[in-house]
């Protein structure tokens, strides 16, 4: 029986599962190969470039905010290029600053971190890690990317419309976001809603694909408890996306109705309720937080096990923690609303669920430490970033305890303490894991190693300046420094701590500059980088058993899985890694599933 036949039986509904014949020439046209490609690897790379672009856009916006905060009222160098609706004589205007705040958050969350984690790593890793030729629905996958593009363009374009880009915060609380007279932004706010709704469809198409692929297309021998942790995390993330995003899409459309056709879902004068938006938004928004961290945790687990040359400590607990976080993630949204006017009794119950979610996070942290314990730590660039992820996630997790405690939240809610917390989780956490993942898997998809020297410089500068920017935010937050304010020196007690702001701003400029090294590394390595061997990190998962870059169709024949992904330093082997697809001594290729089923049936 041929492998192909087995496949068809195993996933009868999925017609695309075809294996490239050995030596088969790839004769797709340029457009089909690189632009409207259905190859998950190309789509992943497309997402990479798209979201890196938005990462840098979001970063540039942050630089401008930091200029204003560090040097309030002084003309920004180059600020003259903006029209006088944004900056007068180079001095950023408060309404433009609000747009910067809003769009920085929007770009980073929806167009950078989320597509980097879900779009890039979901596409790159899932088919390869489950041993499939491609996604279950390759065309849907392509549509997912090509829906994200117009959403991004739409969002970016809003900077150039009359009134400028949305300025009501990335959370878009109505009535500010719903009534143009209140924010001074009309078209920009509408474009925001439309773009978010369109992007929602992109995410849904991705999520459906990931779930189907993982459930249906795992290679023989790849049981659930042999899945790699990134795939586990992406699987759970996809479920979160599938359930959370429609809520946001719906809410964005309701908000759009309030803005355009005179409904009043969120406007009190006609019987609407502003808090309804907050409930809808955060009902999406908190699972979103886990959408932004779970895949990062998966990537970190993969890289730490590899860099430590040790099996992951407590694989089952790690999986259970992912599932628990995802489950609890649905019942904690109210902790964003402790001071919103929501019933204080609800605050109490949300506090308990929020506190409890710290437990699975703690398990994961301790298990990463456990993985490193008595390991053989190789500090290649991905490992450096993954360890930094753990270190920063500890800080972000612990600071979360403060605001989970309702009375403390009274004081620190909407202050820079929150800003510090969320950046420790999203930048220190997610983004460092993304760096780790990109350094780790770049060779597999582009056939070139990223330059390790540049990578190390990038890591250390990022790590140091990241902490110099964001750690002091805890301190100023504890002084009562409100977030999203344009000029702190307007308050006496904040004017006293203004040197902190200037210090953070200078650090932020250096942090931003350091990211150019990353960009340079990618460009340079694509151009002239060292050719990547098939398995540069001596890793176990299936993708490392095929050439770099991974060919179209992935595997020459369907792989069979003999063991879990983290069998490093097994005593019975001389080498310190043991690929999943390599039969051990005495292990035969298992018979096709059909036959096994018959045998089992007797």
């Amino acid at each position: 029986m041929t492998t192909t036949a087995t496949t068809a039986e195993r996933v009868p509904n999925v017609s695309v599962q075809h294996w490239a014949e050995p030596g088969h020439e790839d004769d797709r046209s340029f457009w089909r190969k690189y632009v409207f490609s259905t190859d998950h690897k190309v789509i992943g790379s497309q997402f990479l470039f798209l979201s890196l672009f938005f990462l840098f856009v979001g970063g540039a916006l942050a630089m401008m905010m930091r200029w204003q905060l560090g040097f309030p009222g002084e003309p920004m160098p180059g600020g003259g290029v903006f029209g006088q609706a944004k900056a007068v004589q180079g001095i950023l205007l408060p309404e433009f600053y609000n747009s910067l705040v809003t769009m920085h958050g929007t770009f980073m969350i929806f167009f950078a971190i989320m597509p980097l984690l879900v779009g890039v790593f979901g596409n790159w890793l899932i088919p390869l890690h489950v041993g499939a030729a491609d996604m279950a629905f390759p065309r849907l996958n392509m549509a997912s990317f090509w829906t994200a593009v117009p959403a991004g363009v739409l969002m970016l374009a809003s900077f150039w419309v009359t009134g400028g880009a949305a300025g009501a915060g990335w959370t878009a609380y109505p009535p500010l976001s719903a009534v143009p007279e209140f924010s001074g932004v009309s078209m920009g706010q509408k474009l925001w809603c439309v773009s978010i709704a369109v992007l929602g469809f992109s995410s849904l198409m991705g999520a459906v694909n990931y779930i189907t692929t993982i459930v249906n297309m795992r290679a023989p021998g790849l049981g659930w408890m042999r899945l790699s942790l990134p795939v586990w995390a992406l699987f759970i993330t996809a479920i979160l996306i599938l359930l959370a995003i429609p809520v946001l899409t719906g809410a964005a459309i309701l908000l759009l109705f309030d803005q355009t056709i005179g409904t009043a879902f969120f406007l009190p004068e006609a019987g609407g309720q502003p808090l309804l938006w907050q409930h809808l938004f955060w009902y999406f928004g908190h699972p979103e937080v886990y959408i932004l961290i779970l895949p990062a945790m998966g990537i970190a687990s993969e890289v730490i096990a590899n860099g430590s040359r040790k099996p992951i400590f407590g694989y089952r607990f790690m999986v259970a923690a992912i599932v628990t976080i995802a489950f609890l993630g649905w019942i904690v949204w109210g902790h964003h609303m402790f001071q919103s006017g929501m019933n204080p009794l609800l605050g109490t119950s949300f506090m308990f669920s929020t506190m409890v979610i710290a437990v699975p996070s703690a398990i994961k942290t301790f298990n990463w430490l456990g993985t490193m314990w008595r390991g053989d730590l190789h500090f290649h660039v991905p490992m450096l970033n993954a360890v930094a992820f753990v270190a920063m996630f500890i800080i972000g997790g612990l600071s979360g305890i403060f605001m989970a405690s309702t009375p403390i939240d009274i004081y620190i809610h909407d202050t820079y303490f929150i800003v510090a917390h969320l950046h420790y989780v999203l930048f220190g956490g997610s983004l460092f894991a993304i760096f780790a993942g990109i350094y780790f898997w770049f060779p597999k998809f582009f056939g070139k190693m990223l330059n390790p020297t540049l990578g190390k410089i990038h890591f250390w500068t990022s790590f140091v300046f990241f902490n110099l920017v964001f750690f002091p935010m805890h301190n100023i937050g504890l002084k009562g420094h409100m977030r999203r304010i344009y000029d702190p020196t307007q308050y006496e007690w904040l004017a006293e701590i203004q040197p902190m702001n200037t210090f953070m701003s200078v650090s932020a400029f250096l942090l931003g500059t350091a990211q150019l090294l990353f960009l340079a590394n990618i460009v340079w390595s694509l151009w002239k980088g060292e050719d990547a061997p098939p398995n540069p990190w001596k890793a176990n998962t299936l993708e490392w058993s095929i050439p770099s870059p991974a060919p179209h169709g992935n595997f020459e024949e369907m792989p069979t899985v003999y063991r879990g992904p983290y069998e490093y330093s097994a005593p019975e082997r001389e080498e310190d890694h043991w690929p999943m697809g390599e039969p051990g001594p005495g292990e035969e290729r298992p018979p096709p599933e059909e036959q096994r089923r018959k045998e089992a049936a007797g």
Binding site: V179, E269, P274, T348, S405, P407, I410, G480
Partner: protein, 269 residues
């Protein structure tokens, strides 16, 4: 540069309780932070790759994992328990003093000002002697203040950092807030929820008076309330009339440019 982790001194009755809770959490999380990061750094140096080192082959330790599941669970439940007490005292509806509060106030936020309505000397609203002060919150020390908080346009947040008070002001809702000042002085009131272009400057001053001083202030303001916008013409106040009518435009007092309209030059040419 101020790297301290201490909070500014609290000046409300429940401020101290919130701060105590904060320092407990700071202690606990600080301890966990130091220990875990120290272990991490120690591992990084202790187990870094050396020639001939081989990792210990282990898939985990269930007992250990149960330990580090249960301990954090107990810690966070303990913190939650302690938090609930303080939270209910500050926010819960049945603890918010009803009308019998020593001083009932109404605060209406709007872009970009805090309008405080005082009940006048009788301490009651809708009796005709209430008056509004813009961006000025005057309260007596040691007396319970109850504020009915609302907003006229967008969501604002009533933030008194020194009093550890924060409550969003939501249009269409009236949310009760209470606190009691423990020290006299002047303190900031800030808006903590992004409310538009003037958000960063939506500030007011809180003045905590001695009780007698507050009574005097209230009496004076009630007397002057007649000239507040929207009410009947003021009783004659010669000093004001003088300054108000220095020249034909009534703007002699406006030092900078004299008569604004004539400043325009050509209007009447």
């Amino acid at each position: 540069m101020d790297w301290s982790w201490f909070l500014p001194d609290p000046v409300s009755t429940f401020g101290g309780e919130i701060d105590t809770l904060y320092y407990w959490i700071l202690g606990i999380t600080g301890f966990i932070f130091v220990v875990t990061e120290a272990v991490l750094v120690w591992f990084v140096f202790r187990y870094r790759h050396k020639e001939g080192r081989r990792a210990h082959y282990s898939h985990g330790n269930k007992r250990l994992e149960i330990v580090w599941t249960v301990i954090p669970f107990l810690i966070v439940v303990g913190i939650s328990w302690a938090s609930t007490e303080v939270w209910m005292e500050v926010k819960a509806a049945d603890r918010v003093p009803a009308v019998e509060a020593d001083l009932p106030l109404r605060v209406a936020a709007k872009q970009f000002e805090w309008n405080v309505t005082y009940p006048g000397p009788d301490g009651e609203f809708d009796t005709g002697d209430e008056f509004v002060k813009r961006n000025q919150l005057h309260i007596p020390v040691g007396r319970t203040v109850r504020i009915d908080l609302t907003s006229e346009d967008v969501i604002h947040s009533f933030f008194l950092p020194d009093f550890r008070v924060k409550q969003d002001a939501v249009p269409g809702m009236v949310i009760p807030v209470w606190f009691q000042a423990t020290e006299t002085g002047e303190y900031p009131l800030a808006c903590a929820e992004l409310c538009g272009l003037g958000h960063y400057r939506m500030r007011a001053q809180v003045t905590v008076h001695e009780v007698e001083e507050f009574e005097r202030w209230l009496a004076t303001e009630t007397g002057a309330a007649g000239v507040e916008p929207g009410t009947a013409p003021a009783p004659a106040d010669t000093a004001r009339i003088e300054t108000g009518q220095g020249d034909g435009d009534g703007e002699a007092a406006s030092a900078p440019a004299g008569d604004e309209d004539s400043g325009k030059g050509g209007d009447r040419a």
